[in-house]
Amino acid sequence: MGGDEARAPAVIDRSYFQPADLKQARSFIAKHQDTKVVAGGTDLVVAARSGKSTLPGSLMAIHNLKELAGIEEGRGGRLKIGALATHGDLEESTVLQRNWTALSDASALVGSPATRHIGTVGGNICNASPAMELGSPLLIFEAEVELAGKGGLRRVPFGSFVVGPGETTARPGELLTAVLLPRLKVRGTAGSAYIRLEYRRAMEIAIVGAAALIAVDRSRRCKEARVGLTAVAPTCVRASDTEEMLRGAVLDSELLNRAAAAATRACSPIDDVRASADYRLAMVQVIVLRAITRALDRALAQSTP
């Protein structure tokens, strides 16, 4: 077992800055646009340890910024999730379990208790992995990210923030400060779920994932359907064909099957160490059907007095 010093590239002289508050963080990143932000480090440091990438030369550690911590219920039923809220915070949030269940499901699947306690929502989003568990739930809940830059705050829909593997539309010098979940405006009763195809329970990354939001009236007619897919395209994507087939229809099992199969049209999976593209494609229907079914079951359970 080699020592840490033997493996680390000794040539890089790294700098480290730990801002005392958000104001300091914003002015530092505006001035040092090549700095890399680290919160929990569960992606950044792990990638460096495994040799996937080297640790950047300039680090700004934001883990202590109280302004970015926690989950806050806003006016009108909105939810503001601070960039430093951890997967564990999400998993334990009762308001999330109740109203944004798919996001709660997904956060409970991330890594292990240690990963969930250290890894943050902001880090998960900025790392922009196509396999990020939070991605497809954020898509179906039409979340926005809040970014702090030179000109103040701006908001971007999550779907146009993450644009490719490891790629976001964050501008140089911008810091992701929060994720905003709008109040769900649907008719009927709604339920949501996130399902992941996995080889093991813990420390796993999605082979294929699907998030579904289904709202129905008393006669099982679909008032709203949203489906997001994980790890089957360069980013998490919506399965719009599936959604259109479900909306307005009475949800019987034959339709659910056909609609789930249509989700493959939104997919362009790759072969990698975890699965072949063919296997991923074949499993999309299965996982989407499970997600839709669980979301529907939850929606129906809501309407039972």
């Binding site: 002289d13 569960t42 460096a48 292990s112």
Partner: protein
């Protein structure tokens, strides 16, 4: 460039100067000489390096040491008190939860954190909480039994 870091590990204050890329594991082992915590995969997969930070488990191989400043850290060396093994350590030994021993420090720290947060976990809750700790010897049965037994004995 090196930066000063004040660490409190098992209630003892340490002062070191380290570079930003140093992980907490290498500082605990290399600078503080506390070698109970192990380096397994060095990739945040196996949990051999698990320590507690403010009572909750952290993969110390993949955590920047500088970020641990100001937070109480507990390692396996902090479990035994006054020459007496911690009840979890005794139960691991009694139930066959230890074979080669390499995963044991991490397993113990995760288990200690679980019992602190949830004094009477179910078998499923134990398995879920230890999900980030791999053991290639015991088949886990003895480990899970040891945690159940410790919880039951604590009343």
């Amino acid at each position: 460039m090196r930066y000063p870091l004040a660490l409190v590990v098992n209630g003892v204050a340490y002062q070191v100067e380290i570079e930003p890329h140093r992980n907490l594991l290498s500082v605990i082992r290399g600078e503080l000489g506390l070698t109970g915590t192990k380096e397994g995969c060095d990739d945040s997969e196996c949990g051999a390096c698990m320590v507690l930070m403010a009572g909750r488990p952290v993969n110390s191989c993949s955590f920047l040491a500088l970020q641990a400043g100001g937070q109480p850290i507990q390692t396996v060396e902090g479990l035994a008190m006054n020459g007496q093994l911690h009840p979890l350590q005794k139960a691991f030994l009694a139930e066959g939860g230890v074979q080669c021993g390499f995963c044991t420090p991490g397993m113990l720290m995760s288990a200690a954190s679980l019992l602190d947060r949830n004094p009477h976990p179910s078998e499923d809750e134990i398995k879920r909480y230890l999900g980030g700790n791999l053991c290639r010897c015991t088949g886990y049965a003895g480990i899970v039994r040891a945690v159940l037994k410790t919880a039951a004995a604590a009343g």
